[in-house]
Symmetry: C3
Subunit: 330 residues, 3 copies
Amino acid sequence: MRKAVFISLWKKAKMYNPQLTDDGKLKHLLSIEGLPKSIITQILDTAESFVGVAEREVKKVPLLRGKTVCNIFFENSTRTRTTFEIAAKRLSADVINLNVSTSSQSKGETILDTVDNLTAMHADMFVIRHAQSGAAHFIARHVKPHIHVINAGDGRHAHPTQALLDVFTIRRYKPEMHNLRVALVGDVLHSRVARSEIHALTTLGVPEVRVIAPKTLLPEHVEKMGVHVYHDMAAGLKDVDVVMMLRLQNERMTGALLPSAQEYFKTFGLTQEKLALAKPDAIVTHPGPMNRGIEIDSSVADGRQSVILPQVTYGIAVRMAVMSILAGNN
Amino acid sequence: MRKAVFISLWKKAKMYNPQLTDDGKLKHLLSIEGLPKSIITQILDTAESFVGVAEREVKKVPLLRGKTVCNIFFENSTRTRTTFEIAAKRLSADVINLNVSTSSQSKGETILDTVDNLTAMHADMFVIRHAQSGAAHFIARHVKPHIHVINAGDGRHAHPTQALLDVFTIRRYKPEMHNLRVALVGDVLHSRVARSEIHALTTLGVPEVRVIAPKTLLPEHVEKMGVHVYHDMAAGLKDVDVVMMLRLQNERMTGALLPSAQEYFKTFGLTQEKLALAKPDAIVTHPGPMNRGIEIDSSVADGRQSVILPQVTYGIAVRMAVMSILAGNN
Amino acid sequence: MRKAVFISLWKKAKMYNPQLTDDGKLKHLLSIEGLPKSIITQILDTAESFVGVAEREVKKVPLLRGKTVCNIFFENSTRTRTTFEIAAKRLSADVINLNVSTSSQSKGETILDTVDNLTAMHADMFVIRHAQSGAAHFIARHVKPHIHVINAGDGRHAHPTQALLDVFTIRRYKPEMHNLRVALVGDVLHSRVARSEIHALTTLGVPEVRVIAPKTLLPEHVEKMGVHVYHDMAAGLKDVDVVMMLRLQNERMTGALLPSAQEYFKTFGLTQEKLALAKPDAIVTHPGPMNRGIEIDSSVADGRQSVILPQVTYGIAVRMAVMSILAGNN
């Protein structure tokens, strides 16, 4: 009896969790929300094995040989596209780059027709970037069973591989995650990274996650995500182990949420002085690209506590891990 | 004596048939016109063997390993470029994408200089897309003997791989081609696909090919291509085995050839009701991208009689077949 | 004592020679200036071995397998990008094309952040094209030791692979380089190719290098580069073995340095008549893309003395040589 109820609940949960197969394996990577700790840990552990590949003479493994990975970018992002392209090629996949904004969209083809067409060409994996929240979920709900969808950023919603590489980097430098105090600083409101990061940290057992931002850059009810809210850098950075800077999404801001960039830098920009309030061995992350002199000072960005470039390195390993796990779960 | 006349005629014919080598093998694929039935059949039969490759774990064969395939697109078409790129990569070729409109053209380099340069780089195959009719022929006439040219669409003239995948799809669903009644519906006037399709069907022995369109969307003297002309869907679709929809080329129409899109849909749009006039097991094709609600209703596009997505799948196999046959005919 | 002085001088020289490793091997290819004759010869000799690869059935060698080559083009040039892409793929590298002007630059990311990020992704080689002189040097000075930088054209400064393929071509047709008389004709002022060519010719021991141009298209003090200056084609072409045409950089010219294009062609355009003044077996080079009818007549461009297409062919071999030498010097 109880088992039947459990199964029914579990099936219901599954409806909200299109990322997992019936037996709980990773099918798509759409958001950190809904990923059990076991799967996040599987991704991070698998990524460890790929860190070494990048340091080899021949940086290639044949795990995705003969597979077709389509980078479908409805919003241009050379930077993100490059990370997925490198990851896929190191796994020996064939990579097809599609910048859809400039092509079939203009002929009136719908997103789903584009996706159906690529599916019919026996693509194996879609890496989706879209300006609208929910686009990757929408596509994942629609595709044939053999297709795996990876969300490479959808509007303000999620950017799960970024969050995974962030926690991978943190775990590498601070393996005792259940003892950490982490602060996210800056534009939480417009950041698809922030949401994913908070979920990833919480799921991996980080006991204290703070957000530090002006009220105008925080979503309503952000405390409900289990974070402590600060509007003051001095208080918020006190004794933290990790400072996760967010990019000021200039291009996404509409209206006058902020005073000038200089004013912002003065109050919320990460300088050596402000960083000194954190623990002496605190590390600093940033998802890039950085606005130097706006949300972060160059002396911090290039300083000894910065792990911003290691994040990029581990980003390849994490994306290889996600792709190889997905490809293995057919 | 008669033999000499024959040879002379044949040589003359050959002048108009730059697609074939001296011993009658496929050298370029420029248009369906001028392709003997034996070669069309060779392509379709070869494509059959590639359908299976796309369903394998490792979707790759080494037939074009070490060959360089250049997708030279003077007109942007992500969709078509993708199909050729996937086909070439599954054959293990190196693929170079060139969007020429935005590059050397602006430096005043002529098409032939572009082609000469790529030839000098030891490219093996050119896939050409151009807004002007005859561009692929022009290039094929000019290139060095070891280069193979594939027409991926030139103006209103031809799009032979599309026509080949169409007849491949039809043959798969309706193998008795000498018993078929086929109707092409819509904008025959602006369609490079329609011309190629009619030639392919006729060459393969389809006894009855119809075109259904308003007078303003038909070329003059279209009957001379051996088709039956209808201006009425009810009469034209009666008892056909195959309904081949054409895309309404909005972007190519100049002037007021048409009333409104709604008006067009009402009269010539393919709905379930109109389709019911065809044979009960009739299939529906469309070259894509579709204008849903203009030339075709979504319930038909996604319905049980639609073979539109199989067309896309077979399109990869057909392009692999064309490329591998060309590469083998050196 | 003398040894100490020598070492100190040598170290100083090294500061100005970021292209070489401590033990004098090629580390970056930034300009012909500063390349010792031994290295130029090594590149040309290595290129000889790659000429054959392009003529094989399988045009591929595994020398760069598992390496990541990034074509970072801050200025669009499909033509140049294609030559490097083909060269890298024939060496079995993974190639990533980045058109940076349209991507991270617009998000305010600096060049160095872009380069740092790609370095962190374990790229192995950067091919840099930039509108500003010195861009490739700037990047080379900054990158991590394992990264190799190739200058694919920076402003008016240099385009070393073009100069190398030019001298490679000349050496193939006229192996006795210490007996040659070479004339460069045209827009020396705006040409990044001209500077590199003059250095390459001089270094390889060509005894007489002439430049022929109107005063307005010559840099000040050009004689200091060791060339003989002519403002008259009749005198300048007299008895030369090699005529190296330069492209008229229409798109870089500001102001009225020239009369009309017709006027220019009349005076400095290379015609059959003018070419007849050179030695009967003189060869004609052009870096492409050509302005036919402006700096060169089509009858010369396509004539028996033209080696313009062989230049393109050898360009692939020379770029393969540069890349494989760099990759071998880790």
